[in-house]
């Protein structure tokens, strides 16, 4: 018998959604468990602020819980949650949360480890490179940043990103190409130094 993992996964998610739509908080709690890390990472990368990411992650799922009835059968849960998170983030850009280019001191406090047993010089360089990536990310405009994060960092497909953003795939490809060029330009000195070590 051939096992189709994706079918079984889809059915299980559908069960949880159906229960959550009937008001089952435990079922929605499980939805949170399965998806909150992905959403947190997305919001963190967009805002560069852990405190804001925690708050908005919770707000995203609370909003999702209140509007779970609007989740259509043809939309996947993850892209639907991402779309809500995206709206939360864009609202916060106009609100009190600080943006990435103002949060360098918080980025420096992150304990980022290089897992390839580096030399001390390389370890310091990688931490610095991570910080520079964060700053370069913050310098992108919001749309390019979002597409870059979802595609390059969180590995979503163009189709999924189109569902989240509402943009067509040609625009996504163009914005991603430009975003990558901008990132490459800003990070070139650090990338070259990394390769030399």
């Amino acid at each position: 018998m051939t096992y189709h993992a994706s079918e079984t996964i889809h059915n299980s998610t559908a069960d949880l959604i159906a229960k959550a739509q009937r008001g089952d908080k435990e079922a929605f709690g499980l939805i949170f468990e399965y998806h909150h890390r992905f959403i947190y990472k997305f919001i963190y990368a967009m805002l560069g602020n852990a405190e804001s990411a925690e708050e908005l992650t919770q707000e995203t799922f609370l909003g999702a819980y209140k509007n779970i009835q609007s989740l259509r059968g043809d939309a996947t849960l993850k892209t639907w949650l991402c779309a809500i998170a995206k709206n939360m983030v864009y609202s916060s850009f106009r609100g009190k949360h600080r943006q990435l280019n103002q949060a360098d001191e918080e980025i420096e406090s992150l304990e980022l480890t290089d897992h390839k047993n580096p030399s001390p010089d390389r370890e310091i360089l990688n931490k610095e490179l991570h910080q520079k990536i964060a700053v370069a990310l913050g310098a992108l405009d919001e749309d390019k940043r979002m597409i870059f994060i979802l595609k390059e960092m969180q590995q979503l497909s163009y189709k999924e990103i189109a569902e989240i953003t509402g943009y067509g795939i040609p625009k996504l490809k163009t914005d991603l190409f430009r975003a990558k060029n901008e990132m490459r330009t800003r990070l070139r000195p650090y990338l070259e130094a990394t390769n030399e070590v």
Binding site: H10, S12, K19, T57, S70, M153
Partner: protein, 337 residues
């Protein structure tokens, strides 16, 4: 196809957006064209760098507990689907292609719709109340003593520990069974027919239905429940790490200097994840979570293969694993878990 045409496709190839046939053509061209190979390596290296940026970023460990506490405080509101912000009259006008909505026609239609909604809502509320008492109303008749297994058919798969049930039942059913036990302890048959402790009560002030909290579980049941929650969290984390590992392995680059793929990091990660995987598989069996157990079982094959690669693995061995990951559509499966 000319080289410059392949250059346009290399971006999509790195992003894994090509169909299998086109991807194979691009792959063959890359290995025979130095310029395209350099571009491929540059894009792949960048992608690996950016993909690892978020690898170490984790939400705080107490975020789940804090969220659950906030969710508990949220009242149970079954909201209507989100509708576009146009008035009913305007929609009716669009339907009949009228330039201006007809107020009388709109009002009459509105009255008809309201009347229908109120009668349906009343029927649904009655059913919801009856459902919480373990009975179902069908075709105007009330069925008593409906077997619990029938009510549990649409509940999630995740099972309570086997100590509590002969057969696997959903978590929420543990609550239903506890209610029944309480009723048996406290009441006679007349009390059983009375309003259950966790029945729906109507909040007449704002006309919303609020489901009260279920009765408190015993310490042992609480402990088991928390253990199950901890397992589910750990399993989700494990699967996400494996997803990242497989992505990283899929994007591993070929080194010209050593004439082989550099997968030393992925090997180390696979070894680290193997121990946790074995433990979680055993827990999945214990808790009866067959879906998670099968996923962990499936990925364990890949963890073993990657961990067992030689220190200087052959190109064929690496490509074989890459191809199997792609053919199984494994990363997409894990992503949607």
């Amino acid at each position: 196809m000319k080289c410059e045409n392949y250059s346009n496709l290399i971006q999509d190839f790195v992003e894994n957006e090509l169909d299998t046939q086109t991807a194979d053509e691009v792959s063959m061209h890359i290995f025979s064209c130095l310029r395209c190979e350099q571009e491929f390596e540059l894009l792949t290296e960048e992608k690996e760098l950016y993909a690892q940026f978020l690898f170490e970023i984790e939400p705080p460990k107490n975020l789940s507990a804090r969220f659950r506490a906030r969710l508990e405080n949220e009242s149970e509101t079954v909201t209507a689907p989100i509708l576009p912000e146009i008035s009913f009259g305007e929609r009716l006008a669009n339907l009949f292609s009228l330039k201006k909505p007809l107020p009388v026609l709109s009002a009459l239609s509105l009255l008809l719709v309201f009347g229908g909604v109120l009668s349906v809502k009343k029927s649904l509320d009655e059913n919801a109340q009856l459902e919480m008492t373990g009975v179902a109303k069908t075709n105007g008749e009330t069925l008593v003593n409906t077997p619990r297994e029938e009510l549990a058919t649409n509940l999630p798969r995740i099972a309570v520990p086997r100590q509590f049930e002969k057969a696997s039942l959903p978590i929420s059913d543990l609550t239903i069974r506890k209610n029944e036990k309480n009723r048996q302890v406290t009441g006679s048959s007349q009390e059983k027919n009375a309003t259950p402790r966790n029945a729906v009560r109507r909040n007449e002030k704002n006309n919303k239905s609020v489901i009260t909290k279920p009765p408190v579980l015993s310490e042992e049941e609480k402990s088991r429940f928390h253990e199950l929650q901890a397992f589910e969290r750990d399993a989700a984390r494990q699967i996400e790490k494996i997803e990242m590992l497989l992505r990283s392995f899929r994007n591993a680059r070929y080194s010209e200097e050593t004439a082989q793929y550099d997968v030393s990091f992925e090997k180390e990660q696979a070894r680290k994840l193997l121990g946790a995987n074995i433990k979680l598989r055993a827990q999945a069996d214990f808790y009866g979570d067959f879906l998670t157990g099968e996923i962990l079982d499936k990925v364990q094959t890949y963890l073993l293969d990657i961990a067992n690669l030689e220190n200087n693995p052959s190109t064929e061995a690496v490509l074989d694993i890459k191809q199997r990951v792609r053919n199984q559509n494994l990363i997409a499966s894990l992503q949607s878990f």
